[in-house]
């Protein structure tokens, strides 16, 4: 196990392994996303309250899920990097951040699109949406901090520490925003909560969630290979790649 772990930490080995893994993530992801999209948009019955408008949850919910998952994954990788001085973990955290931020943005954008017919406005200070907005700021902070350093290794460590500080604060922020929200909107029920789901609605949603996760894995692995190449650009093994690998 340790040997394998160590081997995986070596950039050339990782680079090749990751290259082989990508199709295993990407192809099922494409199939599941296709099935989920068709199923969610065409096959699943319309919601009795929201009509076809609810179908945006097939994008909104999985992206919200991955937005949070991405931050936690990034923070875990950051902790591994800081504790065991594993450079690959820093590369993973760096690869994760923009993808997670993109999903957070997607979640906000779809929430806003959903909000227009439901609330009549593009933005409502709904608790979950506000938490997501703060999460986006946290992502941007990590990305901006890493980018601000001239020395990449130093930027990695600083961004890693910030990601850990962020993950400790997320539950507190979430709690405070929920608390704030319940106080200021006592009467309205948050309409962004998922409508009462029938089984076939839920099935397609799960398909989409799994598809999104695999897509996330594929994109992060792809980006991670790029990060490894960028970080190892002086190394000898890269010159041996001759563009095939």
């Amino acid at each position: 196990m340790w040997l394998w772990f160590h081997k995986l930490g070596s950039p050339p080995y990782f680079y090749r392994t990751a290259g082989r893994l990508i199709p295993w993530f990407a192809i099922p992801a494409a199939l599941l996303l296709l099935a989920g999209t068709v199923g969610g948009l065409a096959i699943a019955p319309p919601d009795y309250e929201q009509g076809d408008g609810f179908r945006i949850i097939y994008v909104h919910v999985p992206s919200a899920y991955l937005a949070m998952f991405g931050y936690v994954a990034m923070a875990v990788a950051a902790a591994i990097g800081l504790i065991w001085r594993m450079k690959l973990a820093f590369a993973f955290a760096a690869a994760c951040a923009p993808v997670g931020a993109a999903f957070t943005f997607l979640c906000l954008a779809t929430g806003s699109l959903w909000g227009k017919p439901m609330w009549g406005v593009w933005w409502d200070w709904d608790g979950r949406m506000t938490s997501m907005l703060v999460l986006l700021f946290l992502y941007l902070g990590v990305i901006a901090l890493r980018g601000a350093f001239d020395d990449a290794a130093k930027g990695d460590r600083a961004a890693a520490l910030l990601a850990i500080v962020g993950v400790v604060n997320i539950p507190i922020i979430k709690f405070s925003v929920d608390w704030w929200n319940t106080l200021h909107q006592p009467a309205t029920i948050s309409k962004l909560s998922a409508p009462s789901m029938t089984m076939d609605m839920l099935g397609w949603l799960l398909t989409m969630v799994v598809g999104y996760m695999l897509f996330f894995a594929a994109v992060v692995t792809l980006r991670l290979r790029g990060e490894v190449l960028l970080r190892e650009r002086g190394a000898r093994w890269i010159r041996g790649l001759d563009g095939r690998a």
Binding site: D151, A152, A153, R231, G234
Partner: protein, 206 residues
């Protein structure tokens, strides 16, 4: 006492040198020489504990040096390019703080006696802001002498010093080594020390 085993030093992920091993015992002086960019400052920062070695191990008194090691922190003194003085505080306030930070005592008489040969007699209560670069360097060197540290790590200690100042510091180094101290000094200029103890030369970028 101080042992470096197969140390490699990198700056911004670029390895400057590797495989450096050396041992410093009581009375030993190591001079670090090499052209600009060879890694003299980086090496001293690694030995001081400000940066991590890219590879290899560092030991003090036979034990690996931890991050924030209190024993090593008490016995090692590092003097870098910046003297570490607050310009709004007086010379004596600065010295008192730096000595107490290191866990060393502060005695008005000793401090005055140390400042006198530096040409800073009576300057104890002047703010550091009013001193020249060379005088600030002298204050930092006074702190070095007063710290009671066993290992001195000096990065270009002669910067901004006039000839008299350099001779004085060389004399202090001799005294320190004769008393069983150790020093590692990066310098472009010859140190001019006379102490007959062991001398090592670390040549970087050769």
């Amino acid at each position: 006492m101080l042992e470096l085993k197969d140390v490699a030093v990198a700056r911004s992920e670029r390895v400057l040198f590797d495989g450096l091993s050396l041992t410093l015992a009581a009375g030993d002086l190591a001079t670090v020489v090499g052209p600009n960019g060879a890694g003299k400052t980086s090496l001293l920062r690694v030995v001081a504990g400000l940066s991590r070695a890219h590879a290899g191990r560092l030991h003090w008194r036979g034990r690996a040096i931890d991050e924030g090691d209190p024993v090593y922190g008490r016995e090692r003194l590092y003097l870098g390019h910046q003297p570490g003085l607050k310009s709004d505080l007086s010379v004596s306030e600065n010295l008192r703080f730096l000595l107490q930070l290191q866990g060393a005592g502060f005695d008005q008489g000793t401090v005055a006696a140390c400042l006198a040969p530096l040409g800073l007699a009576g300057a104890e209560h002047r703010p550091v802001r009013a001193l020249s670069a060379g005088q600030r360097r002298r204050v930092a060197l006074a702190r070095m002498r007063l710290s009671g540290c066993l290992l001195w790590l000096l990065d270009e200690p002669f910067t901004n010093l006039d000839v008299d100042g350099q001779a004085l510091v060389a004399g202090w180094l001799d005294e320190h080594l004769a008393a069983g101290g150790m020093a590692m000094v990066a310098s472009h200029a010859p140190l001019g020390t006379r102490h007959p103890g062991r001398r090592l030369q670390v040549e970087l970028g050769a």
